[in-house]
Symmetry: C2
Subunit: 732 residues, 2 copies
């Protein structure tokens, strides 16, 4: 039975080796580490950053060789281990260190791990914590005191000692211009419903690098188009009347433009206060969830949510054959352009914001259909213990609205030989990440014909800045005071495809024209398309930078296994993306997202190249902990090897008035399809008993035979009427 | 009340001026023309092509100026007129002529119309008729008589005098190599369920240009890789044992690979003999159909099906404002490569096959949800009277499965400020075209936020040829005897956008990097993105050939109307396509599909440039009746003009084993979005009363306020449980 609280670990299942740590396991790791005196971990809250704190505990995924040995029946069950991240703030050389802790459930060892070719992780590269935000908030209250009068009079809101008409702030990243810096531009906003769209025109550069917040200081301010050295200078100019003040606070509007409250009306009579079309399940669920194992229509996979980047699938099989060892989100970034300092500084790199942990409750009937299955997850991230995220994942069968396949076989004389169709459904596996203002909706769709689709929708609030006329070079004015700044979204996926085994090769196929003599008409020429195959033998040959067209057929195949018709068994990646680079290659912060140089890079798999990004990319883009370019630089041979496809998708987002109150999902989805290409001998969806075939039984087409294996009527949730079909067309 | 047989004409509605002709109107036009002695139209069947026959009658769409005057309230209702196509086979100079006939319902005049700059339509350019097929069939029976023994012994099937084990044929086009020719390669196939996948290795070139079928003759044959001058030569070689015969007929297999009958099984326990997820409507339909008028969520449009190319929408409005005067399918082509003469000759141009008339019955629960609304249409195409196509169109509200927008507003401390979401639904308007083997599924989706999506899915049988090893340069072997030939699908849409009026301009916007000095850190440089706008002032500047990247923002705007925030009111076309050219520019048959040179061309609208293709393109690609390049050649100014966007989408299809039995829809859809861009002042979906907003009511998040305008429970079709939400995440 499907229970929304079904734990993600069920030790009897193979999939469970990939399951996220249970609350008990998380607690055990935490207790174990806290009991190690040499780690000197502080427990509980202390209002200083000069302490050692356990920031993150999550599953340490087993090594692939061990996992495969276990899954294929021969090997022992891999030990369960954890990965722990400790902020060592109380040391002479403060740093961040990652540890592997095991074995679970009763840990007895821990050992530091390092990223290849990399010194210790700089303390300044660490993600923000709740404590640091709290300290920032207090500092901001302090430094904005001199601005009370300015803020109150010109915006109607203020920061310190506020209760009703409060300001809040959004911080942008990276936090400086070079490694080691930690100074953030903070944009002040009215704290109303949808405050992301309510900048007041004040941005403050606060240096918060010191572990002791008493050493923090404002370095600069920007107000309504001008820079100031200190809050005092700004306040003084205001008092002297020398300031070009911002637009006055809006007269109390009937309705806040940033809310979801309905306003206006559709000119058509469409009623929207009643429920529209829904997903229903007349005969129950056709998928199966047990712990972290999902099965549907030939598909089998294990699921977890990484704290850094979220969705991570393992052991993705179709009809028992592994297609991918891993399919996971690695990173999501949004790089902006703007005229205010905060906007021009904004290069969000979301794994550094715990993108996998901001998977909040999915609302039934809105975020997923009412009939979906909802699963809880646990994270231990910047917390004293495991935190339960209720309904963080959902699964449901989606009626795609389009048949999987169909054909009407006409006789061209008013009748037909047969009609056949197979209804279209897919299992959707979904989670979201609300990274501050933005909401990503992460989907994996499983179709019963061996096609997998991964995609992400963008919604939520845009990251906006205070409107000044200079801003129009970078976006649209979307409200009186609000500029929607242009930005590029890029999302990175890891796809450890194992196509008919781990030994794979890669080639691209395009169409080329050939010009040949016409074999049946002497002297005539035929120009036609033919296949143009390009084997890609090394990593560099298989890295496709932006700015060049990506070949349309990207084929991963087994050089040893062939299908019944003699073709190498292959799967293909097909893109749905409008991505392009976000910065010139090698430019400062671009080094931190080197994966964003390529539509696709295919590398030889290495355990030490597990991820293309890290928790630390956001705050150290200049000298990133994970150097993705290094995966390719040795230009290894990739023939008959264990390959990984690194897939970048994205789109250019120029905000417009219709992004208020929120960016809408239609048209804002990117992703890719994984499609079989001669992997099978025929469409594997022929195994489905859901098709309907109709054949006329007499020459007049008056009676038909309806051949089907599902009930004629799906039952009460749709319509009690049984299926009927005639197929003829006739002269009247 | 919605009735599946609701006629498409309801004279009291503005939309009705675009409604297809009713059966009575079609009959009236036919009777009127048959009564004109100078047309000398033959009624009834006569087994000759040397006769004058009325091939097609359909609506003659009113001129735009008249239609707009009427729709905007000032002008008279435009006369209803018909367009009639007559094949003049009984004249000294046989030709095809088109006539306008009116006024309906009692015609009193007819006058010939011509395509601009074009001589009469050549007789050889006409589409095939049922009669011509019947005559081809008889001829084929006759000419294959000498091959009886060969066919029977080597394939197990034969053509003439067959009853059980019959052969059939597929004809390819164009029918020759130059204007005026009419000689078709016919591929012989076993007549079994899914005969398109059963070529026997015999292809016959039959000249059927003469109006008198007694003059028709076989010109060449291809059998199993070799060419022969006549059936007799082939038969003689066979009898002498000199022939490399094809593979023997397959031993009677348990199951035909080309059927939809289930076989094999999914390794997972998934039951497929029960119904999966469905679309249901707990509170009824939220859209409105009356005659040919459709309304939903702010949208309003008129619909019809052209006989040549199918779906054609007029007067597409959102909240009363016209966005497009016309949105229509113009053409669909598939150009192939291959090693057999039929395969290398195949350049299907589907309007010439009456693509709009092959809109056959949609099966409820498969082609559209059970709860969809189905509409009948009538065509008079190659028939003695109106033919009713039952359930040729369907409409339904689709739960997209993803919210239109949503945001979780975290407090980052286990609670939240609010959650808000708006469920995702769209109205789908659908028809299909089964062009022989292939089934196109044509969709227009209307989203309540002013976004329109047009897309086409490809399914049905691939066009396949007899497998020989030479074929592998052009595709995959997909069964023992079957090669799936590579081809490019291109689809052409006409989009007469009228964005805030008919006076529109067009510009493209891309992202460019700028390198500026950092305004807050002396000596530092900032590289960031900014908008790069390029006004496109003439038709040539606004034509984007394949081979160059299409800018990502394609903006149609009113140069005079601005939204509340000062931006020109704009709509944007966003592509979902993998198209590329099908032949080198100017190469022979490429001239017939000059529209296929461009991702997008924007032209000044002219009444005489109503369509980019015609019924005659297929059989006269070399000297096409409609010369699309001519629309651009005069390079008119397109600033503040009535513009038309011509949109080409498509994909490269390299068939693979999984295309058997049929190409599946997942991943095989292309199309475009029409998206508002500062057209409105905010998201117009704020008018919907379907959002749900949840706010915590106490600091402990124990109680919540759920603000909504729809019932808490959608009712019995999904789940009786009311909506609930909590939103907190907590330490355990
Ligand atoms: Ca490498
Ligand atoms: Ca691999
Ligand atoms: Ca022109
Ligand atoms: Ca126009
Ligand atoms: Cu965005
Ligand atoms: Cu195709």
């Amino acid at each position: 039975v499907l229970v929304s609280t079904s734990p993600l670990t069920q030790p009897e299942l193979g999939a469970s080796i990939f399951a996220d740590l249970s609350p008990a396991e998380l607690r055990a790791v935490r207790s174990f580490l806290l009991s190690q005196p040499e780690l000197a971990l502080a427990s509980g809250h202390r209002d200083t950053l000069a302490k050692n704190s356990l920031f993150l505990v999550e599953l340490q995924v087993p090594r692939k060789t061990q996992a495969l040995q276990y899954l294929e029946g021969g090997g022992p069950r891999p030990q369960r281990q954890a990965r722990a991240v400790i902020f060592f703030g109380e040391q002479a050389e403060p740093n961040v260190t990652e540890f592997v802790v095991g074995p679970l459930p009763r840990p007895s060892y821990y050992r530091p791990v390092s990223y290849p070719g990399r010194r210790p992780i700089p303390f300044a590269a660490r993600p923000m914590s709740q404590l640091e935000y709290e300290l920032l908030h207090r500092k901001l209250a302090e430094v904005t005191e001199p601005l009370y009068q300015l803020l109150r009079e010109t915006t109607g809101f203020w920061y310190h000692n506020c209760s009703e008409r409060c300001l809040t702030f959004s911080d942008v990243a990276p936090r400086g211009l070079a490694p080691g810096e930690r100074r953030s531009w903070l944009m002040l906003q009215r704290f109303v419903e949808g405050y992301f769209l309510h900048p007041v025109g004040l941005e403050i550069l606060l240096d918060h690098r010191a572990r002791d917040p008493r050493h923090w200081a404002v370095q600069q301010l920007w107000y309504n188009g001008h820079y100031f050295a200190s809050p005092e200078e700004l306040a003084w100019r205001y008092q002297r009347g020398e300031l070009a003040v911002g637009r006055p606070p809006p007269a109390n509007p009937a309705l806040l433009f940033s809310t979801y409250l309905p306003r206006g009306h559709f000119s058509t009579g469409t009623r929207t206060d009643v429920h529209g079309a829904k997903v229903c399940e007349p005969q129950g669920k056709r998928y199966w969830v047990q712990g972290n194992l999902v099965e549907y229509g030939g598909w089998h996979l294990a699921v977890r949510l990484r704290s850094s980047a979220g969705l991570q699938l393992f052991d993705v099989r179709f009809n028992g054959e592994r297609l991918a060892y891993e399919l996971s989100v690695q990173e999501a970034v949004a790089f902006y352009g703007g005229s205010t300092p905060a906007a021009m500084q904004t290069k969000y790199v979301d794994a550094g914001w715990g993108m996998g942990t901001v998977a909040h409750e999915l609302a039934p009937g809105i975020d997923c259909p009412e009939v979906a299955t909802y699963l809880d997850v646990h994270h231990l991230y910047d917390a004293e213990g495991p935190v339960r995220y209720s309904r963080a994942l959902c699964l449901f069968e989606l009626p795609t609205g389009v048949p999987l396949r169909r054909h009407f076989n006409s006789n061209f004389r008013g009748g037909y030989h047969f009609y056949a169709g197979l209804e279209g459904q897919a299992l959707v596996l979904r989670t979201t990440s609300t990274v501050y203002n933005y909401d990503y909706i992460w989907d994996v769709l499983l179709y019963p014909n061996g096609v997998l689709e991964a995609k992400v929708h963008a919604t939520g609030y845009i990251h906006a800045s205070y409107y000044t006329p200079q801003g129009l070079r970078y976006g649209s004015r979307v409200q009186r005071d609000v500029l929607g700044n242009m930005h590029t979204h890029l999302v990175h996926y890891k796809l450890d495809l194992d196509i008919a085994g781990t030994g794979n090769s890669f080639e691209t196929v395009e169409m080329r024209f050939e010009n040949i003599s016409n074999p049946w008409s002497a002297g005539e020429r035929v120009v036609q398309s033919r296949l143009h195959r390009r084997p890609r033998r090394t990593e560099r040959q298989a890295a496709f930078p932006f700015g060049t067209a990506l070949p349309r057929y990207l084929m991963f195949y087994s050089p040893s296994q062939r299908n019944r018709w003699g073709h190498p068994r292959s799967y293909r990646i097909q893109y749905s993306s409008q991505a392009d680079r976000v910065l010139p290659r090698g430019w400062k912060e671009e080094k931190g997202i080197a994966w964003g140089r390529y539509h696709l890079a295919v590398t030889r798999r290495h355990e030490r190249e597990a991820t293309s990004s890290s928790l630390y990319a956001q705050n150290d883009l200049w000298e990133p902990t994970v150097d993705f370019e290094g995966f390719i630089r040795n230009d290894e041979n990739i023939e008959n090897q264990d390959l990984v496809a690194w897939v970048t998708v994205g789109f250019l987002h120029i905000p417009h008035a219709e992004d208020v109150p929120n960016t809408a999902t239609p048209g804002n989805a990117v992703g890719f399809f994984l499609r079989p290409f001669n992997f099978f001998d025929e469409d594997p969806a022929v195994a489905s008993y859901s098709p309907v075939i109709v054949r006329p039984l007499d020459p007049a087409f008056a009676r038909v035979e309806i051949q089907r294996w599902t009930p004629a009527s799906p039952g009460p949730c749709v319509s009690p009427e049984p299926f009927r079909y005639n197929g003829t067309y006739w002269e009247e």
